[in-house]
Symmetry: none
Subunit: 223 residues, 4 copies
């Protein structure tokens, strides 16, 4: 039932979605929807919570804990882009519609986002620690950097979803180059390159499909 709601909300937006359409797509009657979820607001809220949790879980599950910060980021981003590519309606709900209608929904999705931002922040802090630069990066600045990284990731998720032939892996590689190496280094031929890792069995079996079709764009950038 939530699946139907996510689908309709994702395609129509909160206001344009009608409970009739949701109930019909779910194959149940409208009062049943009201029985389980009290109102349109609650239904939307439930969608947001479920999809926010699904997304954070997917990212968390994708991160390889033992790796250095850039490796963790790389693995997390791949999981993120894979998840958003597979659940475009959910992604639209979270990224577009939830922020568009009402403080309550915006707050719910914001708390999810903060969790991800916090994770990225930790990664940046860990990287700084590794480089013995910890004290010199003020917290406010790190917050801004994390925000920029997450925003770039969101934008690339939209872009990858709208552009034919862009895989999750490519999107992640592009973002790693951009975020880790930076345009300055890219110009001088010093791209970021992924850590060597055995490609493990993915828990989601068709994930690798999306990744392996194209040549590694990082290699392209690296020339």
């Amino acid at each position: 039932m939530l699946d139907a709601a996510v689908s309709v909300f994702g395609r129509r937006g909160y206001m344009a979605a009608s409970m009739d359409e949701i109930a019909e797509l779910a194959g149940v009657s409208k009062p049943l929807v009201y029985l389980y979820l009290n109102s349109k607001d609650d239904l939307f809220s439930a969608c947001i919570r479920r999809e926010a949790r699904a997304l954070t879980e997917a990212v968390r599950a994708g991160v390889r804990p033992g790796l250095p910060p850039d490796g963790q980021l790389w693995s997390g981003l791949r999981a993120f882009f894979t998840h958003t590519a597979r659940n475009p309606d959910a992604w639209r709900v979270l990224h577009l519609h939830a922020r568009t209608h009402g403080e309550r929904f915006a707050a719910e999705v914001a708390s999810m986002r903060e969790e991800i931002v916090a994770f990225v922040t930790q990664l940046i802090a860990a990287a700084a620690r590794d480089a013995h630069r910890d004290p010199h990066l003020p917290a406010g600045e790190v917050a801004g950097l994390a925000e920029a990284l997450v925003g770039a990731a969101e934008s690339l998720a939209d872009w990858a979803g709208a552009t034919e032939g862009v895989t999750a892996k490519q999107a992640a590689a592009t973002l790693m180059n951009f975020a880790w190496a930076g345009l300055g280094d890219l110009m001088t031929g010093r791209p970021w390159s992924p850590p060597e890792e055995p490609e493990p069995d993915q828990s989601e079996p068709d994930q690798s499909d999306a990744d392996q079709a194209e040549p590694d764009p990082v290699a392209q950038v690296a020339g």
Copy 2:
């Protein structure tokens, strides 16, 4: 009258905005709104066009043409963050609501965005040319990088708008560090720093207010 519409659309979104509220805020009667702008759709469209034009003009006017690519980007970003900070409702209309309701509106804002992405793409290409790396950056990759940069900027605009005490200059500096130097370089103490330039007379006199209040965050990062 468009001001009122932008304000209401920005706060409520397209569907939740009522023509009654717009007319009331504009201090006119509803039929007058229909006299000048034919329908809710047309009104929304007019808002989008006006604000899209205003934003692109602000960015274009802010860019210093003679500077090297990073300097141009820096000046453009400062104009961008200044404009979005000053027109939060317009920014919400463009970035949130226009993309949420209908292909027609999405297309209108997409064409504005493409203009900005094209500008950024040119900057990246120019930077590559300066560094004699032109042939080694494939076009598709550059498109992804530009998308990431613009997405990061959009996200930071939201963040700066929601966070007290973050100035346009700070946001721009954070984004330049992130995008140009990259996290990798930042970790090793090599931030990007703004080009030396005489602070010119701003055509919009109070723009500098937003910029000069805080110490230079780049310097902070640079430690």
Copy 3:
């Protein structure tokens, strides 16, 4: 619910009728009207179709097939005037409002009218055949005569509805005198007189009420 609609449409006309008034008269809420009949147009159309069918059925049921042409016409006219007298609002809808608003509605009522005109045309042709005058009445002329007869009937229906004390039987007799005998014969004392027939049990029991109150106007004319 259609009854209420016919009543309101009949009294107010299409445009001046409001869905509110119809719903109120029907004792239901406005959305319910929209649930069953999709729009004002559809509602009006449904009224027209129902009343057109009712009228043609009433006429068809009233005609005695075995009689000579004038007897058939006489019986059909009595049914016609009886029906219009009993359903004045329906008659107004068909004869006044449906022809006034929109090609679609006009076409619907025109097809009903054509059915009646065709029936009258057949009667005239049959009468001509009986009198061995078939070849001498051109088809175009017959069409005009049928049109005149139907128009006179419509006008008398309005007149009977507006004039106190005119029964359906009187109206039919007047029209038979006028149409069959003609003013010329009436002047010379040769009115048309109804065929001798046993007055059968009417399927609609109160029909005879309307007929029997007054003395036979045909006899009056016959002097």
Copy 4:
């Protein structure tokens, strides 16, 4: 200005006609319409009165006073059909729309109609007097006959307006046959035939156009 109003009212009906369209068609501004005619109601009323007067005058002018009753009717009908054929919008206003909207307008057009019905009634009474049948035709019956005749004329006016190639003269001839001879006499080959009269100079020069194009349908009927 009334011309414009008649045209718009005739084509759209009372309610669907907008003062904007009338003013635009008249080439003046809307407040000017309100200056000369106080309201939409008054404007409609003025249209009705003007066109009612024009129609009755046309009929009155067409009648040849010296002729016997059937000759007078014949000449009046020709004037009637000529006038309605030349002023279809006016005819629609009088016959369709004025009766459709409001007691006030219906009363105005009814008084015109009563004038015509009274004239026809006098003709019938005169014919009865000529035939020495005066006392035997009760007044109520004559009223019904006049009503039928006028209704047939109205219906034929609509029919002639909607059917290509039917002239005013033909319509009048058809109606004379129908009304004066009656279907019964027509069947036995005794149609009505027009009185011999010199075709006088018409005050409206192109009136004869409409009449003379086709062969005399009465002659057709007469075989």
